[in-house]
């Protein structure tokens, strides 16, 4: 299992996709800073121009990128391998199907963690280069000391692993069910985007995966126990349900390409 995971990580970091996504996140941070510096404060998410506040200011927008990056990554990770036949490299060896699936999920987790970590580090660097490090961290209308600000940034960023993984697991399920890469990407993005509109139906609002991907960190920040408990339960439910269904699909799947 460890060797299988090592293979997956080797492929993830050997191929260019992850670096392309990193570049997009860095360019986005740089453009945000440039627009603000060019006098566009009124249309910028930056509320306090300093390096230590930038990652928190951009945490919202990262969800919008992840809702695209995760399906593209999963399509390459799973659907493309099944379609091209490279899945046979593992499955014709002493590897159980469930181990293969688990290795893919670990790879997805590492991918999300690396992108999240990179975006925070890049935003700290870009913000500091553009505005300087600053005296205090500004978030949601409040000021925090340097240490508190870094801790808050880490806490909120790490909390986003749960909604991103729930999104990842949902897309893994789509990727295993789908027969081609375009369908995996298109269907995943379409369903995730459409799930935003669950908020129009009041009772279903808290089940919207897209909404949780965008705003879960704000719930963590506000620390309203009831809301947070409900969201964690919903996200954990997504992870567990999608994993169970994916494992079942994988167990029964006939590989014919």
């Amino acid at each position: 299992m460890i060797r299988l995971i090592r293979n997956e990580l080797y492929k993830t970091f050997r191929f260019k996709m992850v670096y392309l996504f990193m570049a997009i996140l860095a360019v986005h941070a740089w453009l945000t800073v440039r627009i603000y510096s060019a006098g566009g404060e009124w249309k910028s998410v930056i509320t306090m121009a300093n390096g230590q506040s930038l990652p928190l200011a951009l945490l919202n927008s990262m969800g919008q990128f992840m809702i695209v990056f995760i399906p593209v990554f999963a399509a390459d990770l799973i659907t493309s391998e099944v379609k091209s036949g490279t899945v046979k490299i593992a499955l014709l060896r002493p590897v159980l199907r469930i181990e293969w699936l688990n290795a893919k999920i670990v790879s997805m987790f590492v991918f999300i963690t690396v992108l999240l970590g990179f975006s925070i580090a890049a935003e700290y660097a870009i913000g500091t280069l553009a505005f300087g490090w600053g005296e205090q961290t500004h978030y949601a209308g409040k000021l925090y000391s340097e240490t508190e600000g870094i801790w808050l940034t880490i806490r909120l960023a790490v909390s986003m692993l749960l909604p991103y993984m729930a999104c990842g697991m949902f897309v893994v399920f789509i990727a295993l069910s789908s027969t081609n890469v375009s369908a995996t990407i298109g269907l995943s993005i379409a369903i995730l985007t459409a799930s935003q509109y669950l908020s129009e139906v009041g009772s279903l609002e808290s089940y919207s995966l897209a909404k949780l991907v965008y705003f879960f960190h704000e719930q963590v920040y506000q620390a309203n126990t009831d809301t947070l408990f409900q969201s964690v339960t919903v996200l954990t439910g997504y992870v567990a349900a999608c994993y169970s269904v994916s494992a079942m699909i994988m167990k029964k799947k006939n590989f014919t390409s």
């Binding site: 299988l4 293979n7 490279t86 014919t256």
Partner: protein, 264 residues
């Protein structure tokens, strides 16, 4: 007969796709060191059978045993003894041949870097190990597939249409490699093909599949040795146990498929 060691035993293997029975109660046994040619026209059920033997497709009924290990309940032990190319060999085009094999080697306990280099040499790819697989011809990919299949020192190698898309020189080299591996390393082979002459040249046994049923088997060595004598036929069902006066595998094949045996 019963004392013989069977590397592969397939019993009553069945697969249905919708209402169509793609593989129908198929029985097959391969002895140690045997090169078994699995013949049948396109769509006869060869690849589906191979997919079931390698665990890629779940059978609806029947069992597969590799060196006595049940593929379903002892998958890891069974598949550890197999090297296989199912349809076209698939590799990561962006990686070199060496890196592709290293990824496979990582999944096989005890397979060292030295072994990776060794199988690349056996397959005649030692000069191109650092080239990306994307730049390989189909023949080279087939060779790389065989190198990959050899990594774990298998007891059984399964090749699905191994000479497909190869030029005459490539076909000759692959056939020589198979014969060499069987004689020098004692590896058994299951080779599916519709190229009768290729199978006749290299195989020791041949089985004919038609509409998912194994309709006849023939000892190719015997066929080659006694061109003028009628050959013994073992068929999967008594109703097909007819005798053929074939002196070539091609003749035998058409006797079986067009001469009445196996006709539904």
């Amino acid at each position: 007969m019963e004392n013989k060691r069977f590397i592969l035993e397939v019993r009553e293997l069945t697969k249905k796709l919708g209402s169509r029975t793609v593989v129908d109660r198929l029985n097959l046994r391969i002895e140690e060191g045997e090169i078994y040619g699995f013949l049948g026209k396109n769509g006869s059920g060869k690849t589906t059978t191979i997919r079931m033997i390698t665990g890629l497709v779940h059978p609806d009924a029947g069992e597969v045993r590799i060196c006595g290990y049940d593929l379903k309940s002892q998958f890891k032990a069974a598949i550890s003894l197999v090297g296989a190319i199912v349809e076209t060999p698939a590799f990561y085009a962006q990686l070199t041949a060496y890196d592709n094999l290293k990824l496979t080697a990582n999944l096989l306990p005890g397979v060292t870097r030295h072994r990776v280099e060794e199988v690349l040499t056996i397959a005649g790819l030692s000069e191109r190990t650092r080239d990306k697989v994307g730049s390989y011809s189909l023949g080279m990919k087939q060779r790389l597939g065989i190198a990959c299949a050899l990594l774990n020192r298998p007891k059984l190698i399964i090749l699905d249409e191994p000479t497909n898309g190869l030029d005459p020189q490539g076909m000759k080299e692959i056939k020589e490699l198979i014969v060499q591996l069987a004689s020098e390393h004692g590896i058994s082979f299951l080779i599916s093909s519709h190229l009768l002459r290729d199978i006749e040249q290299i195989c020791t046994m041949a089985g004919i599949i038609r509409n998912g049923k194994l309709i006849a088997e023939c000892d190719v060595r015997q066929l080659r040795a006694s061109r003028e004598e009628p050959i013994a036929i073992a068929a999967s069902e008594p109703m097909h146990a007819i005798r053929s006066k074939a002196t070539t595998l091609e003749q035998f094949y058409f006797d079986m498929t067009e001469g009445g045996a196996g006709n539904d």
